[in-house]
């Protein structure tokens, strides 16, 4: 399935791929679900590098695999355009703007504003906002993912396990996955 797009792959320079993904990385706010529509518009609609079906395939693979959504789909598009080098180039494209911007903030801006009383007030309000967003993520994910009692009970059991034992989240995820093999056979299908 990597060879579907070989017709135009050799005509695309790595530089073009890099610049395209640099632009996507530098001008898109708000993480994976905000970036995906921008990637689609740029890659599928404007540049027509991959078609709609290929893009849907990429999204399906991306949602079932580890890693950042925007990064994963960019790498896969890069691979389809120019193989391994294309994948690495696309990854660099989406990562470099983040890296440079956050490096500048962490190194120069944050130390300047950290001890300011008004910035303290701003972050005093931002912290509960971020916690509200995290809680919302759990609630909205629960609504779309936890269908049927199996999923809900498993979620409750894992929550209690995590609170009581305090084990590393990775262990909870793995226990959940293994339990899913038994209790989620189709029953808690999305």
């Amino acid at each position: 399935m990597q060879n579907q797009k070989t017709e135009n792959s050799n005509s695309l320079s790595l530089w073009t791929i890099l610049v395209t993904f640099l632009k996507i990385g530098a001008f898109t706010f708000g993480g994976g679900y905000a970036i995906l529509p921008v990637i689609k518009r740029e890659i599928v609609e404007n540049r027509k590098w991959v078609n709609d079906n290929v893009f849907s395939d990429i999204l399906i693979i991306t949602q079932g695999m580890p890693g950042q959504l925007a990064l994963n789909s960019s790498i896969q598009i890069g691979v389809r355009l120019r193989g391994t080098l294309g994948g690495i180039t696309a990854a660099m494209g989406v990562t470099i703007p983040s890296f440079l911007i956050l490096l500048t903030i962490a190194a120069y801006l944050y130390p300047l504003i950290r001890d300011n009383i008004y910035m303290e007030a701003v972050f005093y309000g931002i912290r509960p906002a971020v916690v509200a967003l995290i809680a919302t993520a759990a609630i909205k994910m629960g609504r779309t993912i936890l269908h049927g009692w199996n999923g809900i009970i498993l979620c409750a059991v894992l929550l209690v396990t995590a609170i009581i034992t305090g084990v590393h989240p990775i262990l909870i995820l793995l226990i959940g996955g293994l339990a899913g093999l038994v209790v989620c056979k189709g029953a808690c299908k999305q």
Binding site: Q68, I101, V130, P169
Partner: protein
């Protein structure tokens, strides 16, 4: 800069990247565990500040957070190792193991495994909002900000950016100066 610290940063963020499944805030519980609980690189308030900055700046949130946390922990090299760590699992899986990955994802057992894992993920994100909330919801005004924005964000589909901006504005007004 100690090489051991750089290596630890890389491995920590590699783990975070490897077990963040589904994007969004899936990386929050893992990052919280690695950065606060396991390594004690910062406290909950600093962590929340960084997540807020990572959300407000362009680009993927977990890459932004990796760069910031890497810098505060290990300087320039620290930010490079943390960032490389968080993107490496994706690169390795797609570039080297894509055939295997396709086979695994198409297997029906993988769907059951992922569904169970997602149940765990929801539990972890919920728990993270409680543990992180303890350093954010500290008095009546911050509790009001939390409640108002929680209701707003559950009921609407407005971009997270607006809620952070609202939080900042309310903070300026309600902060006990």
């Amino acid at each position: 800069m100690e090489i051991a610290l750089l290596f630890t940063l890389f491995i920590s963020f590699f783990r975070i990247g490897l077990f963040t499944i589904g994007g969004g805030y899936a990386m929050i519980p893992l990052m919280e565990a690695e950065v606060i609980t396991v390594h004690g690189w910062m406290n909950s308030s600093e962590f929340l500040d960084i997540i807020a900055v990572a959300e407000m700046t362009p680009g993927p949130v977990s890459i932004n957070a990796a760069t910031f946390i890497g810098y505060t922990t290990g300087g320039l090299l620290g930010s490079m190792f943390a960032t490389l760590g968080v993107i490496s699992p994706s690169l390795i899986l797609i570039l080297l193991l894509s055939r295997l990955l396709m086979k695994v994802i198409q297997n029906p057992s993988a769907t059951s495994f992922l569904n169970g894992l997602r149940s765990g993920l929801i539990a972890l994100i919920l728990l993270a909002s409680f543990t992180l909330g303890q350093s954010a919801v500290i008095d009546l005004p911050s509790a009001l900000i939390f409640a108002a924005l929680l209701i707003g964000s559950v009921l609407t589909k407005i971009s997270p950016l607006y809620f952070i901006a609202a939080g900042a504005t309310l903070g300026l007004i309600l902060f006990p100066y």
